[in-house]
């Protein structure tokens, strides 16, 4: 009786509603920004004929990549049978769906003709990875709904493992599809590489787990529900491994490009003299988004501190956005090589590094993707029993040998007696 985890909806509190309204306002602002851009046309944005995918794509791709990664936590419990992760699974599936909805909303609202969405759903060219992705994304949402159902309804609980396994495979294929959007671009040296797909998968592990930790801690601690130090340290170390994994793939991609003379100019631009892109890569992604969080996640002095782990996760998210910015915008800013071995110039900016500065509507639309995702999460945890009443270490891990009174973030006594 005492060591059983129960799931409850989130209580009414001024804090919850304040955050809910904040997300609602940010979402509305994003919709307004999208309407402004759609009404006037994309000339009001920083985008151009050279940089056709701007800041909204950075946010959309980040959110879609993070969405599949947010399911990691559930997969580790369902597919790999790690018991401490099982109580974390419902929120994991909810967050995955929410992030995907946020990302897709931004992507769709940035279309040149968002009013023609129905055409995207009725006309398909199956040679296009975009067309496959429409099915991969909608299918993922269906799988997530089924997964959530099997986790929340005792009558169908037996199916949660097989459905969780389908979800795990689906998310791998989904992120392969997202990475291949870039990997299949044969005409652009910055993208045309098979490693884009596994690199995006590695990034998804990292971004998704970071957002999961932040959401989980915010909801649990914000509602006075206990969370165990050991659990947080365990997740922090896991995230540290994922951060290292994504850094590894990014490094291999760059090293491969540096090795070939054809792409050395591209790498010199991105890594040495690309201005904002070089800064975002080294300072944003490598230092603040990877090295500093890894220290925080692996060092025993910091990986049990909720604030330090949260700081690390925030840095992973910001570093991830920086890296996606470098990939998407930096990759377009580099001149396309039509005539290898020639200096080129034209009225169409051939041979010139493209100028791009994000406009406010783009940034606001991008931020609203996060707001929409968190709005879905907030609604989810308010109306359905996604959240455990406690994640104290003795509850989530039967083999826990530490001190139970270390559970923090809420009433420790409640954690032990509940």
């Amino acid at each position: 009786m005492t060591n059983r985890i129960r799931y409850h909806t989130i209580d009414n509190s001024p804090g919850f509603w304040a955050i809910f309204v904040l997300f609602l306002i940010l979402s509305a602002i994003g919709l307004g920004a999208a309407f402004y851009m759609e009404h006037h046309g994309h000339w009001v944005t920083g985008m151009s004929q050279n940089v056709v995918w701007g800041t909204p794509h950075v946010f959309a791709v980040f959110l879609i990549v993070a969405a599949s990664g947010a399911l990691n936590t559930a997969s580790i419990g369902s597919v790999f049978g790690r018991k401490p992760y099982k109580p974390l699974a419902p929120l994991s599936a909810l967050l995955a769906g929410a992030l995907l909805i946020g990302g897709l909303a931004v992507l769709v609202l940035d279309l040149g003709r968002p009013d023609r969405l129905v055409i995207a759903m009725t006309h398909y060219n199956f040679r296009s990875i975009f067309a496959w992705n429409i099915f991969l994304y909608t299918g993922f949402l269906v799988v997530l709904l089924a997964y959530i159902w099997t986790m929340l309804d005792r009558n169908v609980k037996a199916y949660s493992t097989p459905v969780g396994f389908i979800g795990f495979l689906w998310r791998l294929v989904l992120t392969t599809g997202t990475g291949s959007i870039f990997g299949f671009l044969v005409g652009r040296a910055a993208y045309d590489a098979a490693i884009m797909a596994p690199m995006f998968i590695a990034m998804s592990f990292s971004f998704g787990t970071a957002l999961y930790i932040l959401c989980m801690l915010a909801i649990m601690v914000g509602n006075g529900r206990p969370v165990g130090d050991e659990l947080v340290a365990r997740m922090a170390k896991l995230l540290g491994v994922f951060v290292a994994g994504s850094l590894f793939f990014v490094a291999v991609h760059h090293l491969t490009n540096i090795y070939g003379p054809e792409t050395r100019g591209l790498e010199a631009f991105l890594l040495l003299d690309g201005g904002i892109y070089t800064s975002l890569f080294w300072l944003g992604f490598v230092l603040l988004g990877s090295v500093v969080p890894m220290v925080l996640f692996f060092h025993p002095a910091t990986n049990r501190s909720f604030s330090m782990v949260s700081l690390g996760a925030v840095l992973v998210v910001l570093g991830g956005l920086a890296e996606i910015y470098v990939i998407i915008i930096g990759g377009q800013a580099v001149p396309q090589v039509l005539f290898p071995g020639y200096e080129v110039s034209s009225s169409f900016f051939d041979g010139s590094v493209a100028y791009y500065a994000p406009s406010w509507p783009e940034v606001l639309l991008g931020i609203s993707g996060f707001a929409m995702a968190f709005l879905v999460v907030a609604l989810g945890v308010k109306v359905l029993r996604f959240m455990p009443h406690s994640l104290a270490d003795p509850l989530v891990d039967a083999h826990f040998k530490g001190k139970a009174d270390k559970a923090r973030g809420g009433d420790a006594a409640q954690a032990q007696t509940a």
Binding site: H42, Q49, R116, Y124, N125, G187, G341, S345, F349, D350
Partner: protein, 258 residues
Amino acid sequence: MTEAPHNDTPALADEARRRFLKRAGLTAGFSLFAGSALAAGLPKALDEATSSERRWGILVDAGKCPEGCTACVDACFEEMGIEGPRVGDNHSRPDQDSQWIRKVSLKNEDTGHALALPVMCQHCTYPPCVDVCPTGASFKRADGIVLVDRHVCIGCRYCIMACPYKARCFVHEAIHDQEPYMPRGKGTAEGCTMCVHRIDHGMKPACVVACHEEGAGAMTFGDTNDPESAIAGKLRDNTTSAIRADLGTEPGIRYMGI
């Protein structure tokens, strides 16, 4: 009452005769017109589907194309009703304006050899823009011309990302006074159509005509599948290449002297 049919019959017969003669006349007239049109060089009747028996292409002799000459570019802008960067009364920044064809100046980094040439949609046999388009708005006609169906384009810009030739454009703002034969619209992708509206009426693309009339005659247009055509002859007799030939897209636009 019984007389009526007798009275009407000749009238009806006359009416039928008149209708027959009228139709026969119209048919004969149309046939005569169509026949003369075909004789005049129309590649196909306008209601006839395109055929892969033809492969439209343009050969650009970069050696003849003078630096500074923009006859082809100017003709394209005028033909297609593109305001472009040179008018400047639109909202878009210069880097947001469409340029379906542009003159590119090249200088060999090692030897210093300089040349200039026009670059437009290369009308690839295997067009990456068509492959990546999620809705099928980007498509290739049987005769090799690559086009955008503006009614199916959702403005995702994936084709622009995929084009190795930087030849696709995105319309950044509302367009007014479009040419009736060339629909263009805010939020959709566009690019050189090889003047498909002219080709289907037996005319050459505007850029090719301007190059001959005002420029140096560096462009040759024609059916590369027709061994008797001028372009097929030049392709046979000269060393030609394609931009980024390594990509295997097999463009319909070929170049001499690069």
